[in-house]
């Protein structure tokens, strides 16, 4: 079990800066994020896009900002659990929390800070009847271990980089790979797209363009994928595995079931300290809601500072908090 003063859910810019603000007050943080890397939206959806409203930076890319934040929080030695989603938060008798992730990791903390941004990034799923019934029984939304598909018949759907990349990888491992793509051109990396085309021309994979997947066949275990060609015909491709790769989309996820006072997809907070309706649970950044809320990174930074001050009393109930400027006292690394 991982034990920390504070567990921060979300490793986006606001979650990362919360490590800094709590670190100044001698509180240690463990950070959990469903994505395999830190940075949240910044890294996942617009790493190269410039941001113009970070104070002191006339222009900075998402990737650069995340890099700077990681440098800034390094003295406070945060620990991370990445690629796992916090499923449960349960309050213990001693008022600490136990958080359990999708991979079974357990984290104990005195304070929980939800910096969940837009929620969890999850695979975008096509509308196919009974798709969920085949999840784990032939339908997967990512490839963790390509060897799993050795000797299988695999159908991949999608036209982006990850669909093209995995088509190439699996073409050398699976018994047969079919890529189904709605368009007639690929917008992924041109090199990858042309290699897919070459393998298709050489008969090493099947490429079906201007088509979409319509239904799945099999009893409990997948054995075929129905495809509708935009010319009008339809066919069923024998398949052990169906991998739809349509990118990621944010969803609130399990947070909605933690008993917090919510407003649609946002957590209501008290603007005195960004506390939620549950004592010792705070919500900062895009995930929270209050009158006048602005979903800006800089607002999340401010919220992190006020949260840290409030959380101090739960981590150090016997100590008084003193306001200190970093300019005067510097950074006291752990």
């Amino acid at each position: 079990m991982i034990s920390s003063d504070i567990c921060i859910i979300g490793a986006g810019p606001v979650g990362l800066f919360a490590v800094f603000e709590t670190g100044l007050l001698k509180m240690r943080c463990h950070v959990v994020d469903v994505l395999p890397q830190v940075g949240g939206q910044l890294t996942e959806i617009y790493p190269g896009k410039p941001i113009y409203d970070i104070p002191g930076y006339p222009k900075i890319t998402g990737e650069e900002l995340v890099g700077q934040l990681m440098t800034q929080i390094a003295p406070f030695k945060p620990s991370f659990t990445l690629g796992e989603r916090v499923e449960q938060v349960s309050r213990q008798r001693d008022e600490t929390f136990l958080l359990t992730t999708s991979a079974g990791t357990v984290i104990s903390a005195r304070v929980v800070v939800i910096a969940g941004g837009l929620g969890c990034f999850e695979p975008r799923k096509p509308v196919i009847p009974d798709l969920n019934l085949y999840e784990g029984n032939g339908v997967a939304y990512s490839v963790r271990d390509p060897e799993v598909f050795r000797g299988h018949k695999v159908v991949i759907a999608g036209g982006g980089d990850s669909a093209l990349d995995w088509t190439l990888v699996l073409a050398g491992i699976a018994d047969k790979v079919t890529l189904v793509h709605r368009g007639n051109t690929f917008r992924g990396a041109p090199d990858t797209a042309s290699r897919v085309q070459e393998l298709a021309n050489a008969g090493k994979l099947d490429l079906i363009i201007r088509a979409h997947t319509t239904h799945l066949t099999g009893k409990g275990k997948l054995n075929g994928v129905g495809v509708s060609l935009h010319g009008g015909d339809s066919l069923i491709i024998p398949a052990d595995d169906f991998i739809p790769l349509f990118g990621l989309t944010p969803r609130l996820g399990p947070i909605a079931e933690w008993g917090l006072n919510m407003d649609k997809d946002a957590i209501n907070v008290n603007t005195i300290d960004y506390s939620t309706s549950e004592e010792r649970i705070y919500a900062i950044g895009d995930i929270n809601h209050y009158p006048g809320k602005l979903k800006l990174i800089l607002c999340g930074f401010h919220e992190a500072a006020l949260m840290a001050r409030s959380a101090f009393r739960f981590v150090y109930p016997d100590q008084r908090i003193n306001f200190k400027y970093t300019t005067v006292y510097g950074i006291n690394a752990f």
Binding site: Q41, I45, Y46, K49, L118, R124, K125, P126, V127, A157, G158, G159, G160, R182, G183, R187, H212, P244, F246, G247, T249, P250, K295
Partner: protein, 113 residues
């Protein structure tokens, strides 16, 4: 005495995902997107990436007037292609500036689930 030039208002219609519809009357303003206007008029449309054409949650189907719109740029086209269940007349409302060509157009919010 000068007078402010008054822009002619436009009117378009939008259906929500439940099939309820409303008419929106507004002065064209290219600094606003169709998504902005739908949101400020109370339509429940997420647009979570904030207008970067990166999340696909502001998808609308253009029921009437599709041909009047300029074609999608590369970023919008890439996202439209990425989304699994789009129709040929779907657009990202965050990429459509509010303009006079929208007068009389009809949109339907697409359920991004």
């Amino acid at each position: 005495m000068g007078s402010m030039r008054s822009e002619r208002k436009i009117e378009f219609k939008a259906y929500d995902t439940d099939g309820d519809w409303r008419t929106v009357e507004i002065t064209p303003d290219a600094s606003l997107s169709l998504l902005d206007v739908l949101q400020s008029n109370g339509f429940d449309i997420p647009g979570v990436c904030g207008g970067l054409a990166l999340c696909g949650t502001c998808l609308v189907k253009v029921i009437c007037g599709y041909e009047k719109l300029p074609p999608p740029d590369d970023e919008e086209a890439a996202m439209l292609e990425m989304l699994p269940d789009t129709n040929p007349k779907d657009r990202l409302s965050c990429q459509l500036p509010l303009s006079s060509i929208m007068n009389g157009m009809v949109f339907r919010l697409q359920n991004y689930e």
